[in-house]
């Protein structure tokens, strides 16, 4: 499991993350929810060590993060835009021992991608699919996705959503950040709500439906007073 314990972060004057602690289990899909610009991406980047937290610790399976076991898919490409998909794959194969070319080929096929395309020739939706494919093909224990659906076309969104219910995601720990919950209402096991730099709520989605009969959107409306 991923444990985020007592994490704080300040950008210039704004204290973006006051005090955040939560967990994301392996084999579950956890969704980190929060309005735009409330530090969701910062938390993910912090977990990955891309942005140092001012305070607090992050443990993955009880140990400091092992970048072989955790993949990060930000909401923009992480390769130079003049790279082709083939070059991206070659790079991943060079540096990630756990990268599985067969898995990548299957995703390329499913997403109907053309390996020789250059990243800067692709639509935002296709780019998101390439990023996701590269992340999954790493065959990680944990997958961190930063706003996987924001600003991409409906068909790409559908393909990605389908992915989450497929065997590709089975027994991986998935941590998604989003502020549009509708797309993945039925996919999420656990929701973690971020508000004013703190964790306002952390709940099992099916329990809340069972006990309070509320959907995630309902809880969001309560929390963020839409």
């Amino acid at each position: 499991m991923i444990e985020v314990l007592g994490v704080k972060k300040r950008y210039r004057k704004k204290q973006v993350i006051e005090d955040v602690s939560f967990t994301a289990q392996k084999g579950e899909i956890t969704c980190l929810i929060g309005l735009n610009g409330t530090g969701k991406s910062t938390i993910l980047k912090g977990i990955m060590g891309l942005t140092p937290f001012d305070q607090g610790t992050v443990l993955v399976d009880g140990k400091p993060i092992d970048l072989n076991r955790v993949a990060f898919v930000p909401d923009h490409s992480t390769f130079p835009i003049h790279f082709t998909i083939e070059q991206c794959e070659a790079f991943m194969r060079d540096f990630y021992p756990t990268f599985d070319p067969k898995l990548f080929a299957r995703l390329v096929d499913e997403f109907k991608l053309f390996p020789e395309d250059k990243l800067n020739e692709l639509s935002k939706g296709t780019l998101a699919k390439v990023n996701l494919a590269l992340g999954i093909a790493q065959d990680p224990d944990y997958l961190l996705l930063d706003e996987p659906f924001s600003g991409i076309d409906v068909f790409s969104k559908e393909q990605i959503v389908e992915l989450f219910s497929s065997d590709l995601m089975e027994d991986r720990g998935v941590l998604i950040t989003t502020h549009e919950i509708e797309d993945i209402e039925y996919l999420v096991d656990k929701a973690v709500m971020l508000n004013r730099g703190r964790i306002a709520r952390e709940f099992d989605v099916e329990d809340v439906r069972f006990i309070h009969g509320k959907s995630i959107v309902d809880v969001m409306r309560e929390e963020y007073g839409a």
Partner: protein, 130 residues
């Protein structure tokens, strides 16, 4: 097989109800093989854990039986199947009654309407005898 999920009720329960209806309507015969968890999750586009939970719930209600790593099967126990049917009918009636009460309709009027409605309904599409 598409289920129109409602976001406010636990998804796994909606899955279980869906299967109960199919068993009650005989679309799933006794002893028939259930779809695999993975197929179901992909088809319904829901979280595999939820499908897992639904199956566990159905096992608890003895609706299905699963031997070690072989696909689950619908129960062959007639009592269980009958029970499901009556449960579904009672549930439907409970929902119906709840929504009718506000309109303070007399019993006779109600019975009369149901007969006509139910009668007509029977004629044009219900084929299953009961």
């Amino acid at each position: 097989m598409i289920i129109q999920f409602n976001t406010r009720a636990p998804v796994y329960i909606q899955v279980v109800d869906h299967f109960k209806k199919k068993m009650a309507l005989g679309e799933l015969q006794a002893g028939e093989e259930m779809p695999s968890r993975r197929e179901l999750a992909t088809e319904l586009k829901i979280n595999p854990n939820t499908v897992q939970k639904a199956f566990k719930e159905m096992e608890e209600q003895q609706l299905i039986t699963t031997e070690r790593n072989r696909p689950s099967r619908v129960t062959t126990d007639e009592h269980v199947l009958k029970r499901i049917r009556t449960e579904l009918v009672d549930e439907a009636i409970a929902v119906f009654v709840e929504s009718i009460q506000e309109l303070d309709v007399t019993m006779d009027e109600l019975v009369d309407k149901i007969k006509r409605q139910y009668g007509e309904g029977n004629l044009n599409d219900r084929s299953t005898g009961s």
